[in-house]
Amino acid sequence: MTAGLATAALDLRRALRRTERRKTLGGLALALPLTAFLLVFFLLPILGMLGKAVENHELGTAMPRSAEVLRSWRGLGPPPEEVVAIVATELKEAHARRQSALVAQRLNREQAGWRNLILSTARRLPEAPNGTWLRTLVELDPAWGEPAIWAGLRRAAQPWTDIFLLAAVDLTRDDHDSIVKVPEEQAIYLDILGRTFWISGLVTLFCLILGYPLAYLLASLPERWANPLLILVLLPFWTSLLVRTAAWIVLLQREGVINDFLVRAGLLAEPVALVFNRTGVLVAMTHVLLPFMVLPLYSVMRGIPLSLTRAALSLGATPFAAFRRVYLPLSMPGVAAGCLLVFILALGYYITPALVGGAADQMISYFVAFFTLQTANWGMAAALATLLLLATLLLYWVYARLVGIDRLRLG
């Protein structure tokens, strides 16, 4: 009897488990298109980008034998004659195949000016050496007698390179291949990374200051008032980002609406610069990103019963204490989510600072676009993007530890 019951229970459990499993599989199958989509259009491009930051195939493609011998060569200064001979003859062959430009371009990223060294040498190299190949090269250009170009060639011969990632944090490699700081006047990227975080932080703060009271108002109004107001908050969402940014230029410019009003009202003697500087960037970005702060705040605040604050007041709390000790803690998940959302979106901002900022207000995405579009230096673009991604992930991790990711609520 008991045995029968036990078997039945076991059967039931098994059947249940089977149904469970089927459900899970069904769920997974439903999520499959999304997973495939994310894999193909999100994860793979990111991995591709990370790869581009360390890719170093140019010399290996155009001059494969040279790449091989340079890789196994150690030491400082011009390498032994047999290595030089392979490099020189292969450079000449590569030039005939119109591949020397590829090598020149790669070497120019090690040091500006080497493009011309490679190309003019490749153009003028004789069929046979004049004495030794090294002597022939030095006669064409004395730079070939220096250790620097050979160290550069050796770095370009490796299957992977770290020079772009190093350059993204203002470091480089010297002739001994040790990591050193770049000269003061070239060290800009750490500054720019810092600036990117600083601007994003300020924008987040301004959004919070403006968005919190607004969300509170929306949440405490009766629905028939709250809804039209919410539409006003959402309205900017339906306008192109470009249009909104351009509108700020019109408003903020020297003879724009705001300056005009302030001068006519006698508040200013002369128009002030509000655009093409940091002020313009902060104003425009705060406006563009404000909805991303208001919406999570609003959805969290709607769920906070007003009776709790009333209860606190009736128990003798001052309005401020009731807010600080009851309402604020309850709204924290919305604050945390809104801040994270605004901050991370702000980190990647490109169009808005490019249009309303000055040269000293550009953020890191500007330089990613610059290297991609203008100089076709994909290694550098990918390295800067990687730096931004890593810094963001690190920050997210710190934030998650401080706030607790389960406390985030997006709506």
Partner: protein, 349 residues
């Protein structure tokens, strides 16, 4: 399982359709869009199709050697492209452009020397100039680049194109170097340092533009009192928006030549060459300045431009002596180093 496989097949098919260009396509020309390409369509692309019966499709771009490299991979999806000088030089060196048959184009001596290249033939002559709003200076505006850098004499903000190109040339002219000697001065030891020092002297009054449409807008809004600008945009603003913008040709300017090139391995090489030939005929080139004041590169084309429009193009006899031709060799060699330096300079307050 079956659904997975179908899905995989569909995904693969979708990807392939991205990756594979249409095998049989029409002759494709790529230019710089906007009002400029509209003028080209009216003057050249339409009549060419009518005359030859060859179907022509258009694309647009904003330049960049990286874009050109991508488009030239395998069987190119573009045939004829209008490029700037550095793209011409780099593209030719890298072997992604077809060498041109100069005899068929009428010979190299028929064109301005700077419009002749192994892989490209000049399309237009255009210039970066000093421009200002005539209405803001009733007693005479700036007449030299020294004036541009003189914030005592002409107070207010000024704008330059972002990046070292032209900025260094203008900063050198501002030190009294005649346009023809500018690149000599920049190549001399310390020449670039002096130019940067000059730029630094008005840094707090400088803002930078990137798109060619910005300078007329900056002038119109009063944001700046003077700016560097593409000459065609200034004239276009005067003609279309009834502005009174002035170009200080005598201050010195940098002129450049855009070129027509054919991508290597173009499946439509013969038609492409026919199109390039059509585009560079003197009588066709001479039609453009009436719409947009960019000058012909064909010597005879220059003579055919009506006098009323000739004064507004950079290559006209009265303007040309004040200009210096953009030194592509200098810039191809130095652009990365100087851009790095310019960025480092510009991003610091």
């Amino acid at each position: 399982m079956r659904s997975t496989r179908t899905l995989a097949a569909a995904a693969a098919a979708a990807l392939l359709s991205f990756a594979l260009p249409a095998s049989a396509r029409d002759l494709t020309i790529t230019s710089w869009g906007g009002a400029y390409q509209a003028a080209q369509r009216e003057l050249y692309f339409g009549p060419f199709q009518k005359e030859t019966g060859i179907k022509l499709v258009e694309d647009t771009w904003d330049g960049g050697i990286g874009v050109l490299r991508t488009k030239a991979q395998g069987t190119p999806v573009w045939d004829v492209v209008q490029v700037e000088t550095d793209e011409l030089v780099l593209g030719c060196e890298e072997g992604i452009l077809e060498p041109l048959d100069w005899a068929a184009l009428g010979g190299k001596d028929k064109f301005l020397p700077a419009a002749v290249h192994e892989c490209g033939v000049g399309a237009i002559v255009w210039a970066t100039v000093l421009a200002y709003d005539g209405n803001k200076f009733p007693n005479g505006g700036p007449s030299s680049w020294a004036d541009f850098f003189d914030t005592q004499k002409f107070p207010g903000k000024r704008a330059l194109r972002k990046g070292p190109r032209q900025a260094l040339e203008f900063a050198t002219m501002a030190q009294g170097v005649p346009p023809a000697k500018v690149y000599e001065a920049l190549r001399a030891p310390g020449g670039v340092d002096k130019a940067f020092a000059k730029l630094d002297s008005i840094k707090k009054d400088l803002i930078f533009w990137e798109a060619g449409a910005q300078p007329p807008q900056l002038l119109a809004s009063g944001e700046v009192v003077m700016t560097s600008a593409y000459n065609g945009r200034i004239t276009a603003a005067n003609r279309q928006d009834k502005r009174n913008f002035k170009i200080a040709w005598n201050a010195g300017f940098v002129y450049q030549i855009d070129s027509w090139v054919i991508l290597k391995n173009s499946p439509k090489k013969a038609e492409a060459f026919k199109l390039v030939h059509y585009l560079t005929r003197p009588e066709n080139q001479a039609k453009l300045p009436a719409i947009i004041p960019y000058g012909p590169t064909h010597v005879d084309g220059g003579k055919l431009v009506p006098a009323e429009y000739a004064v507004e193009i950079p290559s006209s006899p009265q303007n040309l002596p004040h200009g210096v031709f953009f030194d592509a060799a200098f810039w191809v060699e130095n652009v990365e180093k100087l851009t790095e330096r310019f960025n480092a300079w510009a991003v610091q307050k």
